[in-house]
């Protein structure tokens, strides 16, 4: 009898595991687009992904009904992290109530999570244990405060747990406790800012200005969003909104020209943006703490736009059409000013259109999109800054793909994907090339992934 049971278990689990690892798009699609003199290709670290099993979470003191929902959120977050083969949702009759290392070992699990959700005051405490199945031992134990399920922060407090598990195992940042801001074309033809959680839940509108309001960017602490809008003076201006209070301020509205493409410095002290139109066009920085003082960083008779800071804040990458309006390129220069280095693969006399740079929060990588062929397709590319465009990683191979933005794990990118079925937000794991749909069928623009929102205020009670 026991043998039959084990066979059934194996069969069920094989089905579960196999069904989760098929990428949405085949990354082995033919590589017909090429840039002369540039190595373009898949440089994925197609490494081993450990299997992580989840023992069904139990509940106590009122946590019974919510336990499986919390478990489900964590299981999906870990699957979306693209770091594990996740085994979950196994029938309790197969798994049993007690931790059985031998059973999980036979299934090939390397890690096992078990958890108990207990009612506590106006929320819950999740007591979580990470087991090393091979050694048959508890590796980590934590207690996490989970907000009441009616709270708007309920899901975010669970995502914080998922990121903690990634940190326990890999000692690297996760990206579950994060949101993505973007703009979307509304019925009246305007653009408004929207937000969505990293797992595709909680999609909602942030602004209702009935105007062209777009290109949101997050402050490093995740408390504020800056964006452009024409809502007050009929010209694009930079606004900064405090997400908790809804308070808003406009940045130096009297400075002539269009103000576009804002980006925070990593310490949150400065905001850099572009002024276009007129002789004073270029990238400027503005001191948010002193609430004054525009400092000119770069610029000329051309347009320098879309600044993005290196993680340590000493350099910026940006987009410039100094080689001609048909040849926008990506450059890197010191934030304090100086010479700009080209990092996109420009070859004199060749076509080349590279825009929308974003510097990874971890390491010297800049993602952008480029028109890599005469067919006019746009694809997501990643360049290593020191490499000066000699080697590029191409991450998309189908449709049109624009405006990449890095997740706080420095590994995933969200971008606007245009396919035959329409436009949406897609996520690609730069390590494995796996895709996932985040939001399908909406006319979305310029997404910006937040930093980790697992702040101490929301975080664990270890």
């Amino acid at each position: 009898m026991k043998v039959i049971c084990l066979l059934i278990r194996r069969w069920v689990i094989t089905l579960v595991v196999v069904s989760v690892v098929i990428p949405i798009e085949s990354v082995l699609a033919q590589k017909t687009d090429s840039i002369p003199g540039v190595t373009l290709g898949l440089l994925y670290e197609r490494g081993y992904q450990p299997a992580l099993a989840i023992q069904p979470f139990s509940g106590r003191l009122g946590g019974e009904t919510l336990a499986s929902q919390v478990e489900g959120i964590i299981a999906r977050d870990l699957r979306y992290s693209d770091r594990f083969e996740v085994m979950d949702s196994l029938p309790e009759s197969l798994v049993g109530d007690e931790i059985d290392y031998q059973f999980w070992d036979q299934l090939g699990a390397v890690w096992l999570l078990s958890g108990t959700l207990e009612g506590a005051g106006d929320g819950f405490v999740l007591v979580l244990e990470l087991h090393d199945v091979v050694y048959g031992d508890i590796r980590q134990r934590g207690r996490f405060y989970i907000r009441d399920e009616m709270s708007s922060e309920f899901r975010m407090t669970v995502h914080v747990v998922s990121d903690e598990i990634v940190d326990w195992i890999f000692n690297e940042p996760g990206m579950a406790a994060s949101k993505i801001a973007f703009s979307r074309r509304t019925e009246d033809g305007n653009q408004e800012i929207y937000l969505i959680d990293s797992d595709g839940e909680n999609f909602h509108r942030l602004t209702d200005y009935k105007n062209l309001t777009m290109t949101p960017t997050w402050s490093p602490d995740g408390d504020r969003i800056a964006f452009i809008s024409r809502k007050e003076i009929g010209l694009p201006r930079i606004y900064e909104m405090n997400l908790a209070t809804g308070e808003e301020r406009i940045i130096d509205p009297d400075w002539r020209g269009d103000h576009i493409t804002p980006a925070y410095s990593p310490n949150g002290k400065d905001i850099a943006f572009s002024v276009t139109g007129g002789k004073r066009s270029g990238i400027y920085s503005y001191d948010l703490e002193l609430n004054c003082c525009l400092t000119h960083i770069s610029g000329g008779r051309w347009d320098d736009i879309s600044p993005t800071f290196s993680p340590e804040g000493s350099r910026i990458a940006f987009n410039s059409n100094r080689l001609g309006t048909a040849h926008p390129q990506i450059y890197v220069m010191p934030f304090s000013g100086g010479e700009a280095d080209l990092i996109s693969p420009y070859l004199h006399g060749q076509e080349g259109y590279y825009t929308s740079p974003e510097w990874s929060p971890i390491g010297d990588y800049v993602a952008f999109h480029g028109r890599v062929s005469r067919r006019g397709r746009y694809h997501i590319l990643v360049a290593e800054v020191s490499d000066q465009g000699r080697r590029l990683r191409q991450l998309t191979w189908e449709g049109n793909n624009e405006d990449p933005s890095w997740a706080p794990d420095g590994r995933h990118l969200v971008f606007v994907g245009k396919r035959e079925w329409g436009t949406g937000l897609m996520i690609v794991d730069t390590a494995t090339g796996k895709y996932r749909m985040l939001l399908r069928g909406l006319d979305v623009r310029v997404p910006e992934w937040s930093p980790s929102l697992g702040t101490s205020e929301l975080g664990s009670l270890r």
């Binding site: 033809g189 062209l212 059409n321 929308s356 310029v446």
Partner: protein, 217 residues
């Protein structure tokens, strides 16, 4: 009692009632003549019963009245003609202003990814120059647009470059740059909401918004 009350009174022997001089009244024609006739008759204490026709004096008065009416009509016609001429002039001027406005507002298109002024755009811009010279108070906002292809952010810059090209062109003809401001809507305000070559070529444009001043045609 005033004498005039008796004028034209008729005493009816059968009914013993006094009626008004109906026959006299029947004969009276234009309103102006009535007053003249009544005042003339008033001098006659014993008016003849029921005059059979207008007297020479009455005819003269009627003629005078007709002449006065004619003169008044001629004056009215002259005024009307003057007004019509003024109206025609006003319409002509309005039309000239409207034409000038429409010339000023005629948009210019650009090649794909380019901000250079094309030959066709140059012809359109040259027609604006004399109007801008004649109308020194007119201020214009040059609004640059891009087609939907390419990146949202870069298209803001591209629209701005196009508006700058137009400003530089007009400045080259002596139109002060201070009268010309620029802004870019990027790809977000398409003229034609389709995704084909025709729509793209029409959406790559600079529009001219008159933001102040008086047009002198």
């Amino acid at each position: 009692m005033d004498d005039s009350l008796y004028i034209g009174e008729i005493f009816d022997m059968d009914t013993h009632r006094i009626g008004l001089g109906m026959r006299i009244k029947d004969l009276l024609v234009p309103g102006l003549a009535v007053a003249l006739l009544i005042s003339a008759c008033a001098k006659d204490p014993a008016p003849p019963p029921a005059p059979t026709g207008p007297t020479a004096e009455e005819i003269a008065q009627q003629r005078a009245a007709a002449a006065a009416a004619e003169a008044a009509a001629a004056e009215a016609a002259r005024l009307k003609a003057e007004q019509e001429a003024a109206e025609r002039e006003r319409v002509r001027r309005d039309r000239a202003i409207a034409e000038a406005r429409s010339t000023l507002r005629e948009l210019v298109n650009f090649d794909y990814d380019e901000s250079a002024i094309t030959d066709q755009a140059e012809q359109i811009l040259r027609r604006k120059v004399p109007i801008l010279r004649n109308s020194p108070s007119v201020q214009i906002r040059l609004e640059g647009h891009a087609d939907e292809r390419g990146s949202t952010e870069y298209n803001l810059a591209l629209g701005s470059s196009r508006a700058e090209s137009v400003r530089e062109f007009l400045s080259g003809f002596g139109i002060s740059g201070d009268r010309l401001t620029t802004t870019s809507f990027g790809e977000d305000r398409p003229l034609v909401s389709r995704s084909d070559e025709n729509a793209w070529s029409r959406n790559r444009r600079v529009e001219f918004a008159i933001t102040g001043g008086t047009i002198v045609p």
